[in-house]
Symmetry: C2
């Protein structure tokens, strides 16, 4: 059932993840006969992906020569949010060489937004971050057909439905490109360089404008039959709850998300139940999740209660997912993870109380380590994967 | 990440699933050089697992000899329920050779129950169903450590916690044995010989005394980090619902299951809202899910409403799982699937209304085809897998 990963891909990924290695170490780790490894290396040096990197430390006997990914190798990771563009250019080891972020409204459509991305990358090139790119990865805030490289009926992205994002980028930059859902790239990033390093079964829960879940199962991102696995924002948590933008009642997103929290905070301020929120509302004319976080940090009881109530709703959904999927770890990321410890404590409390003890006995529920960088990091991982795949 | 399945296992599984094949067909399907295939076949003939089976139909040129699994090869599949033992002895192609079923209370503990299994298998041997077994598979109604072959803190199986079921069976029958959760073996059975044939991503939902879910992802049973994935009976569906045996409020099992349905039916009968149920209650002194099914078949409105209400609760949980896992198919099995079309129609209606259109556009929600045989079939599949694995 499982496809076997070809030798050249496994080799390139090792050099990406571990850095310079000797031929002996490579042959041992990849478990291939030395002549086959040497032939493969020679081929990859010819393509310009791999290069010699001096002598290894002695293991006794003749010192082996190190090989590494070419120092000029560059990937681009792009993370499109509802109202932001993040771009990172990395070297072959996926270390950032340049990073840019700017405000942009995804509803302006693919032409405008992808032009802004092109301008940022042009700037990176002028700044000396790269000469040419070996791969581009991009995440978008909506469902994606990973196979076709296009968004599919994305609710908050008018004009993007079935737009050939992958082929557009591939033509634009003359290299392989790959498109995925924004939550999947965050999950991939966090597993590559964050708190979920090398964990095979884990959930990355993004709580922001919307709510979504990236799923790792047996070491791979799980995308589901139609590529829309992880759409947990519309799971029902309260049959008596508010009507959601999707038309159903009591969806998680309608009860707790950036939008829902701002709405609740405004109601609390207007009812005179929080002086901090009332002041902010009078000042700015509107409230955001950030105001609630700041209020809670100052000890405002209503703000703390708003976060706790939200954490309980998230916890109920996650308890169900823990019962179903029995993951090794849950990572909480996205804008609302700034609500921090109060949110996390409430989520943990509900999950530990509601799921099978066997499943929660050793289940860390933790905040994302990469934070806002999780997305671009994951996009760069995908960019390198697809570049390595096509280097055959 | 994925382990490569060795040649001999793939070869034996092909003969199990497809029947007699020519050497040419085997070499083509397995994509191995002919000399390697012939050497492997010779070895498997020597072990007694494989044998010659006459000449294949001509493909032009010299007619090839067929090989098949040895006609005397036998596996045993055992399905332990809360109150039943099902045993099936199969040939190498997993076709039933003998089948037995009897009433037994799992709470009598492993010694008593496994002795009953031994008596049934002794009877099968006397009846000529087998001379010796090549593998035994068993499913139990509780969480299992698949790796260790033991039940782990099973709530309805006192005395079974960490009892070495696998090693006990292996010693008793002198062959490899394997233990899994009852819902997993039903999922495996339905995929081998039922409606989910060759579907890679699907959920098998068992609705009976309890409620559980077998999960197939990318072609393999998914068991989770601690082997308790699929424990969906304790997902919360109604925050104002009844208290569950687990201590939490509003669990799916507390709201709809064999026990819950009997309780609700009794309340309906006592309130004078169903003459059919009232009569049955007066006659037998108690009501079961079957009485509700019979009442609904005769058009009793209260019975139909009980089933619809239950279907709605199951539907809410499954809608959440569809949003999360985006499966290709959902199969409903277990004792309460006898509630049939009314139940299914309600489940479908909720799932199609509540999940993302992309995920439900082409999502069959269907009844198990194997019904009560799903479990023993899956146990026999596992028995053959482990027998083939150890034939190296």
């Amino acid at each position: 059932m499982h496809t076997v990963v070809p030798l050249h891909q496994r080799l390139l990924r090792l050099l990406r993840d571990l850095g310079p290695l000797s031929r002996a170490e490579l042959a041992d780790t990849l478990e291939v006969p030395r002549p086959r490894l040497l032939a493969e290396l020679e081929r990859l040096v010819a393509t310009g992906l791999v290069t010699e990197a001096g002598l290894a430390a002695s293991r006794g006997g003749r010192r082996s020569t190190l090989v590494e990914l070419h120092p000029d190798l560059r990937f681009a990771g792009v993370d499109l949010g509802a109202s932001s563009i993040d771009v990172e250019v990395t070297n072959g080891r996926l270390e950032p060489v340049a990073a840019y972020t700017e405000v942009a409204d995804i509803r302006q459509g693919p032409k405008v937004i992808l032009n802004r991305v092109a301008e940022l990358l042009a700037k990176a090139r002028v700044d000396g971050a790269f000469d040419r790119l070996a791969g581009v990865g991009i995440g978008v805030p909506g469902p994606v057909s990973f196979r076709d490289g296009v968004p599919v009926s994305p609710p908050i992205m008018p004009g993007w439905d079935r737009f050939p994002v992958r082929d557009f980028l591939s033509r634009e930059y003359g290299c392989p490109a790959v498109v995925d859902n924004d939550v999947n790239i965050m999950a991939i990033g966090e597993r590559h360089g964050g708190v979920a390093h090398s964990v095979n079964d884990y959930l990355f829960v993004k709580i922001g404008t919307g709510i979504g879940c990236g799923i790792y199962l047996t070491g791979d991102v799980y995308r589901g039959t139609d590529g829309c696995a992880g759409d947990i924002g519309h799971i029902m948590v309260d049959s008596h709850g508010p009507v959601c933008s999707c038309g159903n009642v009591g969806c998680l997103e309608a009860v707790f998300s950036g939008v829902a929290l701002a709405r609740e905070a405004t109601a609390v301020a207007r009812a005179g139940n929080s002086s901090i929120l009332a002041e902010k509302l009078a000042e700015a004319g509107f409230l955001t999740a950030r105001d609630v976080a700041l209020g809670a940090a100052e000890g405002d009881i209503s703000c703390i209660k708003l976060i706790r109530d939200g954490g309980r709703q998230i916890g109920i959904v996650l308890a169900g997912l823990v019962s179903f999927a029995n993951p090794t770890m849950i990572v909480i990321g996205g804008g609302l993870s700034q609500l921090g410890h109060i949110l996390l404590a409430e989520i943990r409390s509900v999950v530990y109380r509601r799921s099978l003890p066997l499943a929660t006995g050793n289940l860390p529920v933790v905040l994302s380590e990469l934070g806002p960088r999780a997305g671009v990091t994951g996009a760069a991982v995908l960019a390198s994967d697809v570049a390595f795949e096509e280097a055959s």
